[in-house]
């Protein structure tokens, strides 16, 4: 099995493979933020902080213990979620932009903490040993990405997800309807961060080197742009948004030095022409049903 997967991965062009893995990791991260910002409507500008907590936790687990990789990721996710819940408890009382700046501030604090944290080599960064698994990393990343898609799709239509959407639409009304908004917001925050942590763990083991400076404000913004570009609160949107934005810098590479310039302009133009995101307001299930010639239910 492992041999077959290895040869499968080996048959893909390494450059293409790297883009594919970046997209896979981006999907996990974007879906996590989609739970917080898209479903619950809480703007977070510090998603990269949870990614970095995950990346460093996962790297330390690999270095210090012999846990197999899937257990490592599970531990990482849970640790990140616990940290997120502990932070979310006080700061989720804030609303709107005050919350946004608080998450931003928290992300900067986490970055500076890791820059000064002895066990993770301070600003030098950490070299991550190979993951303890026989399955090649690219396959691992994509399995996790698909699991994340399934998880968020189910969460979205569950009782929990409906409560989150109610909070997004109107927090006061949701409160009046008997939804424990504080608890649900913390849970959503923890779930989103759980996925960010796992994304960070995958990132650390795929790149095999992590540096606290990689998880700055711009990384958080990158992830947020993926979610907004795809269409807030939409799972296919988050997948498409992260695919476009995670691969755009690579496809724009032929422009070499103009790359980031075009990327910035691209963000502005996409927002001006598709303000609700690429898939905002598009019902993908309905489109698919129509494509195969079936009328969507209820119409």
């Amino acid at each position: 099995m492992a041999d077959f997967l290895n040869s499968l991965v080996g048959s893909i062009d390494p450059y293409m493979l790297q883009i594919l893995v970046n997209v896979g990791i981006a999907i996990v991260l974007a879906l996590g933020l989609n739970v917080i910002t898209g479903l619950t409507g809480q703007l977070s500008l510090g998603h990269a902080a949870f990614m970095s907590i995950g990346a460093f936790t996962s790297a330390m687990v690999t270095i210090k213990t012999g846990l197999p990789f899937f257990a490592n990721l599970a531990v990482t996710g849970v640790v990140t979620a616990i940290v997120a819940a502990a932070i979310g408890f006080p700061i989720l009382r804030l609303t709107g932009d005050y919350l946004a700046i608080c998450t931003l501030g928290f992300a900067e604090i986490v970055k500076v903490f890791f820059l000064n944290f002895e066990p993770t080599n301070k600003a030098l960064g950490l070299t991550v040993p190979p993951a303890k698994t026989s399955i090649p990393m690219p396959i691992y990343v994509w399995v996790v990405a698909i699991l994340a898609i399934i998880l968020v799709t189910f969460v979205q239509s569950s009782r929990f997800g409906r409560a989150l959407k109610a909070i997004r639409e109107d927090e006061i009304a949701a409160d009046a309807m008997g939804i424990n908004t504080a608890r649900y917001k913390i849970q959503a925050f923890a779930l989103g961060s759980f996925m960010a942590g796992i994304g960070g763990g995958l990132y650390a083991h795929f790149l095999s080197y992590i540096n606290p400076s990689d998880f700055g404000f711009l990384k958080s913004v990158d992830i947020l742009a993926m979610v907004v570009l795809g269409g807030l609160g939409s799972v296919p949107g988050a997948v498409i948004g992260s695919s476009v934005l995670a691969s755009a810098p690579e496809f724009l590479r032929f422009m070499s030095q103009y790359r980031m310039l075009v990327y910035g302009a691209l963000l502005v133009f996409l927002m001006v022409f598709r303000p609700n995101g690429l898939l905002g307001g598009v019902n993908v299930t309905e489109l698919l049903l129509r494509a195969v010639g079936r009328k969507p239910a209820g119409k």
């Binding site: 910002t37 700061i91 009382r93 932009d97 500076v112 742009a225 907004v228 302009a265 303000p275 609700n276």
Partner: protein
Amino acid sequence: MFLQQLVNGVALGSVYALIALGYTMVYGIITLINFAHGEIFMAGAFIGLLLVSAFKVNVFVAMAGAMVFCMLMGVIIELIAYRPLRKSSRLSALISAIGVSIFLSSLALMVFGADAKGFPDGAFPVRQIKVGTADISTLQILIIGVSAVLMMALEFIVQKTKIGKAMRATSEDYNTSALMGINVNRVISFTFALGSALAAAGGVLVGVLFNAVSFNMGLMAGLKAFAAAVLGGIGSIPGAMLGGLLLGVSEVFGVAIGYSSYRDAIAFTILVLVLLVKPTGLLGQKITKKV
């Protein structure tokens, strides 16, 4: 020692306050976190540097030139990147602002290169003046003086002029002021021009103070100034001044007592702690949500 650090802190804090004012005014009117504001600050520093080194003008003339240039820049950015998005969700406008910010900083990287540039020697005569136990440089006096003058000018414009009245009305209630015959678009353009001019002045001052102008100087300064605006209560002009000074002073004192490697975290730690106690900032008004 204490006095010395206090002066250093106030000088740094007045620059934060200058940038924070732009954030807070724009936010007060269209509730947009203008992430490109830090880049305007950076552009102001570059224009000032260009004028001083290429045209050999005086620092004050360079500052005025940078302010005019950045005014235009702010207005054009608003026209292209924010105005079409005024009716759509605030997050889209936020992403658009971030796009502008990435665009401008990479443009500066391409035009001016990656290394930090310094002002030519003698751009501003630096002398040390002894006041009690502290050595105060003429640069610090320049920074504090210019910031104070600009903030007073701003206060005058906002409180005493007709367009200032229109600004206050628009930030109070956008739709009603439009109905009252205020040209809202013009007010918004004016707000961007005003905020950008202040940021440009801040950029030139910082460029002279640290003698370094680089393409990525806008990011951290912008984030901290934004933190200052929120700390003071976003949308409130005195709040932005207070927040900027508070962050500047505490950052300098934090470094002085030996937390220099935590420098960037100090501002944000204070911000988070204050918000936990006062969720709308120091001078922000508590908004009661109506159902």
